[in-house]
């Protein structure tokens, strides 16, 4: 090859390398990356780091309640433009009736503190008319407020919420609660001061939200007060199937030592309550111990799923499936890959992992983009529009991923949406040889859906709320027009 040829080849190589590098890093002003998903509306959530969204159909309105982590080093208490005051991150309340024009209604301040140490991360919402002893005209919000405990708010008028009651105090931590709206039983993720773990379960009867009644404390044997020896992995959160299903699926761990624990709800609520190892074992049906490399952030049950491939089998053509979502916690792939697992729990005493899903790293050079790459959580709505058909996974810098789960033995990605970054998107840093190096990337932390089929993705790095809808093949799977 001649000199000119070499120069041309070098130039092309340079352009290719530069292009790859550019593709790795998000840029303000660049369009979102998407497949079979489309942006419908957006709200900046006052640039607060977001955790759990819950979308509630309230009268003729649809209201999004969104929990927040604490503030950042740069902005510990962002200013609420509606009050003009600096407020520690708490709960955002947004009217999403018109998803193209979400309207921020109110911010309930949370606990002082930065990142995981502050805010009010978890929210669940129940109508008073579904709770056995609630005010039939009221709507109640249950939220976790860091070490300050749990709170119930009356959000009947979401523009002007009022505090109903507080539960627990002096806790080591709180996190991903679950509240059965038809019974009022709440599984509060707490850190009771005398337990050996930062997160365990305190079970309350909140059927009358103004008068909480404690039922019991629960956790894995070895976590209870006075025990010795190795301390099992801490709780992340439970999901109950209520009195009909009579099961509670507990997920333990974030990015390590995950455990799916299947518990008999009736024995849990009515069995002996003293926190002894035997009493803690009594309601357990089985547990699936995961690899030391993966945790169990979300354990989402999908029971009685018809499996098309097994349709002509004389037995086992319906399966009880639990989708387990790990949580990535390290920036820039500093840990084993955290992803999504599907467990067949049809034979409850022997749950078995049957499949997994991850975003291909090379599809976006996600380890180079900055921040976390890996899964964090899934939607938890069991509304018919998506339940047992499509699942939505928050995958940090890979945005939201839509999975076709109709055959959970072979889950398949059918869409994705990676929001654009904004000037509010916070940096994420790693330390290399003593020097801190930071990048800015989307950090989709949680995702939820509503009964209409809208998808709500929120960002841990302060980018806000993106309201999405499906298009193309993915939309057809849901049967949406």
């Amino acid at each position: 090859m001649g000199g000119r040829g070499s120069v041309a080849l070098l130039s092309i190589s340079f352009l290719v390398v530069a292009g790859v590098a550019a593709a790795q890093q998000q840029v303000i002003g660049a369009p979102p990356e998407a497949s079979n998903m489309r942006l419908v509306g957006y709200n900046d959530l006052q640039a607060r780091s977001a955790y759990q969204p819950t979308i509630h159909h309230q009268g003729d309105r649809w209201i999004a309640y969104i929990g927040h982590h604490g503030g950042s080093d740069a902005i510990p208490d962002p200013v609420n433009p509606m009050t003009g005051k600096a407020e520690p991150n708490g709960t955002s309340i947004v009217d999403v009736t018109d998803p193209a024009h979400p309207k921020y209604l109110h911010h309930i301040p949370g606990q002082e503190g930065k990142y995981e140490s502050g805010g009010a991360q978890m929210v669940r919402v129940c109508d008073g008319k579904s709770l056995p002893k609630g005010d039939r005209n009221a709507v109640y919000l249950l939220r976790a407020v860091g070490s300050e405990g749990h709170e119930i708010w009356n959000v009947t008028n979401p523009e002007n919420p009022t505090l109903v009651t507080r539960i627990g105090e002096g806790l080591k931590d709180t996190h991903k609660n679950f509240w059965e709206c038809d019974t009022g039983i709440a599984y509060l993720v707490s850190g009771a001061p005398d337990w050996r773990t930062r997160r365990m379960t305190q079970i309350y009867d909140l059927s009358d939200p103004a008068h909480p009644v404690k039922i019991r404390d629960f956790g894995l044997p070895g976590q209870e007060p006075g025990s010795t020896g190795a301390v099992p992995t801490e709780l992340h959160g439970p999901i109950s199937t209520g009195p009909q299903g009579n099961r509670v699926y507990f997920g333990y761990g974030t990015d390590k030592g995950g455990i799916l624990q299947i518990v008999d709800r009736d024995k849990l609520l009515h069995g002996p309550a003293a926190p002894t190892a035997d009493n803690l074992r009594y309601p357990e049906i089985s547990r699936l111990t995961m690899s030391a490399f993966n945790g169990a952030h979300t354990t989402f049950p999908m029971l009685g799923m018809p499996i098309p491939e097994y349709a002509h089998d004389k037995d086992g053509n319906k399966r009880d499936i639990v989708m387990i979502v790990d949580e990535a916690i390290q920036n820039e792939c500093g840990e084993p890959r955290q992803m999504v697992w599907f467990a067949d729990v049809t034979t409850e005493s022997r749950p078995m992992m049957i499949s997994s899903y991850t975003v291909p790293e090379a599809s976006g050079n996600f380890c180079e983009r900055g921040g976390r790459f890996g899964s964090h959580s899934s939607n938890e709505s069991m509304a018919p529009v998506y339940y047992k058909k499509l699942a939505f996974i928050a995958f940090f810098n890979a945005g939201v991923r839509a999975l076709d789960i109709r055959d959970p033995y072979h889950p398949k990605e059918v869409g994705y949406f990676i929001p654009s970054i904004t000037p509010a998107t916070d940096k994420r840093c790693v330390t290399l040889e003593g020097v801190e190096r930071c990048k800015v990337a989307i950090q989709t932390n949680n995702v939820e859906t509503d009964d209409r089929g809208y998808i709500y993705a929120v960002d841990r790095a302060n980018t806000g709320l993106h309201i999405l809808e499906l298009t193309g093949e993915a939309r057809a799977i849901a049967g949406l027009p």
Binding site: A230, G334, L432
Partner: protein, 183 residues
């Protein structure tokens, strides 16, 4: 006569050596002396959720001691650090040696290479039925932990003294800071 002189010289040499040995035994040990007694050995445990750390054996201690030390990046409350003894129970890798351990007493605040945390003594129930002491150490820098567990037949007080002395040698301080990202 020659024989007597030889015996006297031998006695003098023996006495001098004994004196040096005794002096070595009783004088305060410098960091270099401490470091010299510890030899690195292979990490003796199977793979778990954390990458393997470094393991050392002290053959120059009164009783042989082994220490296992490794960073756990992003495993600490960034604001409160190692807040209580329960956290030492959870994170300090005692379960690598045995799942069955019981604390001997409340732990203490400790400082290792500019990292603050806690140290606690334990009684280990080993698989063969034997029992011996162990020390769990957990110290933090921002959101990152350095954990160490030392075990041996020595008394817990001596285990703690030797383990802390070793972790504060220049070699280990440098390694610790590098392992925690140099920051």
């Amino acid at each position: 006569m020659r024989r007597l002189i030889a015996i006297a010289i031998a006695a003098l040499v023996f006495g001098a050596l004994s004196g040096v040995a005794a002096y070595q035994k009783v004088r305060p040990q410098g960091a270099d002396d401490v470091d010299r007694h510890w030899q690195e050995i292979a990490w003796p445990y199977p793979r778990d959720g954390w990458p393997a750390g470094r393991a050392f054996r002290c053959d120059g201690c009164t009783e042989p001691i082994e220490i296992y030390v490794r960073p756990k990046i992003g495993f600490c409350n960034c604001d409160t650090g190692v807040a209580d003894d329960d956290e030492v129970d959870r994170v300090a890798d005692l379960d690598l040696i045995s799942d069955r351990f019981a604390p001997l007493a409340p732990g203490q605040v400790i400082r290792v290479a500019d990292l603050r945390g806690r140290v606690r003594a334990y009684d280990l129930d080993m698989p063969g039925g034997a029992r011996h002491a162990a020390i769990g150490i957990a110290v933090s820098h921002r959101c990152d932990l350095l954990v160490a567990v030392a075990q041996g037949r020595a008394h817990a007080d001596e285990l703690q003294r030797e383990a802390v002395a070793f972790l504060t040698t220049e070699r280990m301080k440098h390694w610790t800071m590098a392992a925690l990202g140099g920051g």
